[in-house]
């Protein structure tokens, strides 16, 4: 079976810093893959490339076996890939439902295009339905996001990413601002995505969370893929030593 997504030999530099140095990643349809690595290992750089935020300097992205170039987040979205970035990307000045629907607003079907009136009621109804579908506590659709708590904000960002994904959801630390109960809900949400045929790339520092939902864990270190393993509790130690680099890679020294 052709994998849904393949990243081959990904290279990306920021000035003199080589953030990705030949990283490899494969995700099958409906698979939950955890992407692990220490700070600065290149996880965020890699998912930004997959999400179309920036282009790779070298290497290749393939979707369904076909090489693709995502020139912008929009093209990645059109390919069915949604990303939750670490900074959430919420608009504090907009309401919960406006944030949820941003870039996908419902309009009255007239010939006015972007000047067509918004269907606020329909969007609010849909928002409430989505909350129910995803079993998340109600958030007032008209509440401005800037006044919500960190947990509520994160919930909105996660929902927005998950609700519209067709093929692949990329979640960068989706439980970072969440308490125990909310984390469990998000993980539950993630675990149910494969049922809908949606694959997941999950970045998390929490190996317990990873063990709960991921089929496979891929470890990055210093821009390279250094190993892959089932994220079971037996493999816990092995994963940790891969992450921290128990044996330093050649040509570099760790302080």
């Amino acid at each position: 079976m052709t994998p849904l997504l393949e990243v081959r030999g990904a290279v990306k530099s920021y000035g003199a810093v080589r953030a990705l140095d030949g990283a490899e990643l494969t995700v099958d349809a409906g698979e939950v893959v955890a992407l692990l690595g220490d700070n600065g290992a290149g996880k965020s750089t890699l998912i930004k490339a997959i999400g179309g935020v920036h282009a790779l300097d070298g290497g290749e992205l393939r979707v369904d076996g076909q090489p693709v170039v995502f020139g912008s987040p929009r093209t990645a979205r059109e390919a069915g890939i949604e990303t939750l970035h670490q900074d959430l990307g919420l608009f504090d000045n907009l309401s919960a439902v406006a944030n949820f629907r941003i870039g996908r607003e419902l309009r009255h079907p007239r010939m006015l295009g972007r000047l067509g009136l918004l269907r606020e009621r329909a969007m609010e109804r849909d928002w409430i339905a989505q909350l129910e579908r995803l079993a998340v506590d109600r958030v007032d659709p008209r509440q401005e996001v800037g006044v919500l708590s960190g947990g509520q904000r994160q919930a909105i960002a996660v929902l927005r990413t998950v609700a519209f994904a067709q093929r692949l959801v990329i979640l960068d630390e989706p439980t970072a601002a969440l308490g125990l109960r909310e984390s469990a809900k998000v993980l539950d949400l993630v675990a149910r995505l494969p049922e809908q045929g949606v694959a997941v790339i999950l970045i998390s520092h929490n190996l317990e969370h990873v063990a709960q939902v991921a089929d496979r864990a891929v470890v990055l270190r210093q821009g390279r893929t250094v190993g892959t393993a089932a994220p079971t509790s037996e493999n816990h130690e092995a994963l940790v030593s891969m992450i921290v680099g128990a044996v330093p890679p050649p040509s570099t020294r760790r302080s």
Binding site: G51, V53, S72, P73, R74, R77, T83, H85, D87, G89, L90, F91, D92, N93, L94, A98, I102, G103, E105, R107, L112, R114, L115, G116, L117, L118, D137, R138, V139, D140, Q143, E144, G146, V147, L148, S149, G150, G151, Q152
Partner: protein, 334 residues
């Protein structure tokens, strides 16, 4: 937060929400207080003739402020609108022999041209600073106006210009009707359309807007172009008021327009601002100037009064941020 949770929110929470709502209505409240005070101080203030006068004077600022609002919501600024007013008048006067409609088109085209140059240099020229770009076009447009008019004030504009600038319909100044129509249109565009939603999104978090697939460059171009076009409209009103086109027309009007937007509670950090409050801002400036004139207070004091109001408005914005922070903390601990 569910509706039930809101109803059971602690008293402090509700007070904070109430405070936030009061702040949103702030500019209109300030205007109302000013009108009452001026009416008490001067019996002439509320006469229909004086009210019409305030309407005429505030209309230039209001039209420019509406354009400025769009730009400021996107974290930008347009310093060139005053000069665009001067240039548009001169351009129209240079071809004064044309028809009425042709003349109006010239006004609008000149404003549109200045706005388009701003947009193109800012977005496609990749100069990331609208302050500098529009400071440049402020000079260029004013200079062009002076060159084209040879420094002279021109007359002989078609009669439709002076009708629009100084006519009345049923006692209401036509410029006021024009402002009302523009404000209504812009209010709907900003508040009820996808394009308007995207303007707020680009101002609120430009990077996230791009990531969400919003054509941020297109949005930015549209607001600067529209701001220029509105400067063309303001130019018609300014020229129509005096039935002449001076290359000096509109000088410093850009500052009044920006002041009106800030008094109207829009934030320089972007993403915030409402049409109603911007109109209130323009009227506040008009009422202060007119009222102090009536009371025989020196124009020097008018400068001080408007300046104080700008600072007060900024402090109110700081207070808004503080109240929101408090609600956030409460929501987190709830």
């Amino acid at each position: 937060m569910s509706a039930a949770a809101v109803a059971h929110a602690p008293r402090g929470d509700r007070a904070t929400s109430l405070g936030l709502r009061a702040l949103q209505a702030g500019p209109v409240l300030i205007l109302a207080v000013l009108v009452v005070v001026m009416a008490l101080l001067s019996p002439y203030f509320l006469t229909s003739r004086n009210v019409a006068n305030v309407g005429f004077q505030a209309s230039f600022v209001a039209v420019l402020a509406l354009g400025q609002l769009l730009v400021i919501i996107t974290r930008g600024i347009d310093l060139s609108v005053g000069s665009a007013v001067g240039l548009a008048g001169v351009v129209a006067a240079a071809w004064a022999g044309t028809s009425g409609a042709g003349s109006l088109a010239l006004f609008l085209a000149a404003g549109l041209a200045v706005g388009t140059v701003n947009a193109v240099v800012l977005v496609y020229g990749r100069v990331p600073n609208p302050f500098i770009v529009t400071l440049g076009t402020l000079g260029i447009a004013r200079g062009l106006a002076l060159v084209l008019a040879d420094g002279q004030t021109r007359t002989g504009l078609p009669p439709v210009v002076s009708t629009l600038g100084s006519g009345k319909v049923a006692g209401v100044p036509i410029p006021v009707l024009i402002v009302a129509a523009l404000a209504l249109t812009l209010g709907v565009l900003l508040g009820r359309t996808q394009w308007g939603r995207w303007i707020y999104a680009v101002g609120g978090h430009p990077e996230a807007a791009r990531r969400a697939g919003i054509p941020a460059n297109g949005v930015l171009v549209s607001v600067y172009v529209l701001c220029g076009l509105l400067a063309g409209v303001a130019a018609i009103l300014v020229a129509g008021r005096t039935d002449s086109a001076s290359p000096q027309a509109g000088q410093l009007l850009e500052l009044d327009a920006i002041t009106a937007v800030i008094i109207g509670g829009a934030s320089f950090q972007g993403g915030r601002g409402r049409v109603v409050n911007v109109l209130a801002g323009a009227l506040i400036i008009g009422v202060i100037r007119n009222g102090l004139d009536l009371l025989g207070v020196s124009p020097f004091w008018q400068l001080i009064a408007v300046g104080v109001l700008v600072i007060v408005s900024l402090e109110l914005d700081v207070l808004r941020g503080h109240l929101e922070q408090r609600l956030r903390t409460r929501a987190a601990s709830a």
